[in-house]
Structure formats: structure tokens, C-alpha cells
Symmetry: C2
Subunit: 301 residues, 2 copies
Amino acid sequence: MKEPFEKYIADLQNSICQSIEQMDGNEKFKEDVWQREGGGGGVTRVISNGIIFEKGGVNRSAVFGEVTPALAAQLKTSGASFFATGISLVIHPVNPMVPTVHANFRYFELYDQQKNKIDGWFGGGADLTPYYLFEEDAVHFHQTFKSACDRFDPSFYPTFKLQCDNYFNNTHRGHERRGVGGIFYDYLRPNTSHDENFFFEFSKACGDSFVKAYLPIVERRKNLTFTDEQRKWQELRRGRYVEFNLIHDRGTIFGLKSNGRTESILMSLPPRVRFEYDDKPVAGSKEEELIRVLKNPREWV
Amino acid sequence: MKEPFEKYIADLQNSICQSIEQMDGNEKFKEDVWQREGGGGGVTRVISNGIIFEKGGVNRSAVFGEVTPALAAQLKTSGASFFATGISLVIHPVNPMVPTVHANFRYFELYDQQKNKIDGWFGGGADLTPYYLFEEDAVHFHQTFKSACDRFDPSFYPTFKLQCDNYFNNTHRGHERRGVGGIFYDYLRPNTSHDENFFFEFSKACGDSFVKAYLPIVERRKNLTFTDEQRKWQELRRGRYVEFNLIHDRGTIFGLKSNGRTESILMSLPPRVRFEYDDKPVAGSKEEELIRVLKNPREWV
């Protein structure tokens, strides 16, 4: 499963970067190939100061090594060594009418002292972070991933939608979600009903849905005009994105504390950000409406 | 000890805010008085968009309540209930030639089930975060706190200077310190040589040193001209400040995860920030010189 999944995410990285470049029409991704001390490495691609995309990163990696005590605690399971491969991306557009997006698809294996595979699972998801809420965009994003889920199991979408709302949650902001969600799944292991290949196909279906879920939204919103005040609101909301990623995101915190490649991990941070004391949207405004939805996640489909 | 320390920090908050306002000459602090569910409250004062100070917060609080398991783990000691009071401040100037500064002075008590005091200690410190290094500023800041320390114990300054370098450390950035340090102390308890009052007097000496340590530096640098590029560098470096506070700072993370007052905790975040992928200063530049010092802390006095 390692090789086919690695090949899949390498192809996915190519096709996503190509679609993003084509949409931007001006900027191209720059690539950094890196090695990891202890085993493995990755390919980080970053786009900066595009016409549409202010900052975006599409990263893939395949790493292996010993299971440290910190990793065992994070995984809530144990083994002597591990292999992990995945793709992780975050796109921050210039225009506050265009939402930020994140997606991640990964595969993990654990081995015993004799290097026998003792466990393996898939994880992943995608979530949308608008600065101004266009309901049809949230519906389109959710519908696209729901359609992918439904081809595999009707219980997947409702389960993974809820997990997404619960995960991307700034609990310290009165349970304000990072955005309007999407899907989030983890520890999908072969079981009595489904083999490993079933979950591989499911992961591919989700990965293949990313461009279809996100780019039509960009297309619809990219030419909308916006004011300096709306841009300021976007920068304040990006502050919340930073808060989530650095305070709550397990992958980010674990990566940084276990000597991961800092630049590849923190490519997710937005390019320009504001933090103001006690900033609050005006009552009855579009900005306040967004916060209300973030605090009370909706069913979009 | 609770009452005299609370009174001291209330006076210190007043005198620091007054000095900052006087230096700015334009903006005034705004005050929020808040209550804490579970016991106590605080007084948060924030200055925004001043001529010299872009964002600053000077917060004091006195809180009490049950020792939760999370708090016990954080304190590495136990008790049934606690009382904590302190002042915490962060000042972010407009001009990148003027350093950011942070200081914190606090007192903590623990009680048993019968409400008898079973432990009590002082903590605190101050550290300076320049964007451009003026050696005489680092020397002045350290010398001021060293003079305060030396009046109490010649071992204090070298110990607390080292603790400061070790604490304000972005380990995930190749052990890049947040700034040029200062002093950091914690768990100063009565012992065979010194009573509680000795450490109270020491804390007061440190608190009283803050204005003397920082404002002469602001005075010297506030009228220096700067370019857009230097301002950009400041905003990138402020990104590192955000990273430290949200990833590593024990007080911030504990406060946010234990339902502290989010706005008062995060008043420390800089007003405008940038995050760029793999930003690196030009070889031989002033910016690179700063990084070198942050990675290899110096003895300033």
C-alpha cells in the first residue's frame, strides 16, 4: 500500500498545483526538495504573491523512523517503527470574498521490532474558511465531498462532517470553528466489512474531489470587488487561522516539537495577519453573521 | 503577602501606563475590568495606534479557585486551591528600530483542603525583542535588571539571565531566541537564607526597574527613520513572536486551555504580522546579524 499511495499523492500534488497555477494565470509554484534526518523527505511547493493566490503551499512527504515516546502518545498506539506519507495543502487567496482552503490526505504504517507491518490506516479531510459567507459556496464544497463519501458508505459524510466541525475548533474563542468545515477522518483501518483497498479508493475519491470542490468557488468570487475594511476583516480572521494552527492543530504542534521541517509545516500560516484587542463585528453585519455560523455549525447538504 | 503584592502591582500598573502614555504623547490606554468565573478578575489596559506604540497591553489580575488536574500538572506541585496575582505587559512599537518588550511579575499561593496556606512563591521577568540590534540597548536593559538583582544576591542575575535565554526560545527555529533576553525567575520560595519578604522586595525591585530599563531605549530610537523593507522585516519577526507565544509560552497555552480570559491573554500578539515561506535575511546584513545573536545568546554585562 505504501508505494501506490505515494504514487497517488505525487500525481495529486502535480494536478492540484497545475490547476492552481492555471487559475492564477500569473504566478508559478516554487519547489523545495528536502531530506529528513532520521529517514525520508518531501517535496514542498509554494506559490507567493499571485494575482489570485496570495500564499499557498502544497506539500508531500514520505517519512519513516523509530516510534518515539512522543509519537506513541500522539498516535495512542505503539510500534517500533513507522512509515507515513501524505499530501497537505493550504491556499490563502488575496480577495477576502474567496475562502481559504485546507486539505490533507495521508497513510500511516506501524511495524514491530522485526519490521513486520502490525498496523496501517488512512486519514485526511478538507475544510473551507470563508471571510464572507456565500451559502452556495459552503453547499458546493460540502456536496462535492458528500458525493465522494456516499459512493463508499452513507455513514461516512455525516460522521466525517461532524468530526471536522469538532476538530477545527478554536475552543478558546467560545468554540468558534475555523470555517464552515468539510470532512475530517482518521484511523480508517481494514475491518470486517472493508479491506485496505476500499479505504485507499476512498482516499483517492476524496483527493480527486479537492479541485472540483474548491476551484469553482474561486472562479465565482475572484473578481468581486472589496474594500480596505473587508481586507482588514480578512486579516483579523487570518489571525484566528494562526491561533488554530499553532494552539490546537495536532499535526502542526507535533511536527514542530519533533523536529519536523519547520518551513514545510508553517507554510500553512497566512501571509499578512492582524491581531487587535477585543475586535468585534458590528451587530447585524455580514461579519457578525459569519461568526454566528462559525459558533453554530450548520448542515449544508 | 497577598494584599501587599496586589497593592504593589496595582500601583505598578498605574505608573507604567502613565509613563507609556507620557512617552507616546497622543494615545491613552483603554481599560476593561473583568470578572473570572470561578473566582477573581482583572484589569486589562490596552493602548492602540499610538504615535510610538502601535499596540500595548498592561494587564493585572488576581484570581483564585480550585486546583484542577491541568493546573497541578503545570505547577508540578499540588494543593486543593490556589490564589495567583500578577502584572503582565507587552509593548509593540511602530518603529522597527524600537524593540518590543515584555514583563511579568507574579505571586502564587497554594492551600490545603482546610484553606491553610501550604506553599507560596514569586515569579517574573522581563525580556527585550529588538528588530534591529543596537548593542548599547541590550546592555542598558540587562544592566538595569542586573543592578536590581545584585542588590539582593550576586547569583541572581547570571541564573535568571540564563533561564530567560532558555525559556524564550523558538526551539523549532533552530533554537532562535525571541530576543536578546533579560531575566526570568520562578518558584522563588522562602528558604533557610531568605524569608518571603526578601523575595517580595526583590520582585518590587525588578518591577520598579521596568520603566528605567525600557523607556530610555524608546527615547533613543523613536525618531530614527526607517524604510518599508525594515518595517516588513519587523512584521516577519513579529511572526516569530506569535510562534513563541502560541507554541511555547506555558502561561499563554495554559490560560487558553483552562478557560482564561482570551482577550487579556492574547493582547500580547503583535498588531500586524507577516508569515513568508522560508524567509531568510541577506548574508552580511543587519538582519542576519540579529539572527546570529538570537541563536547564540551573548553576555551583555
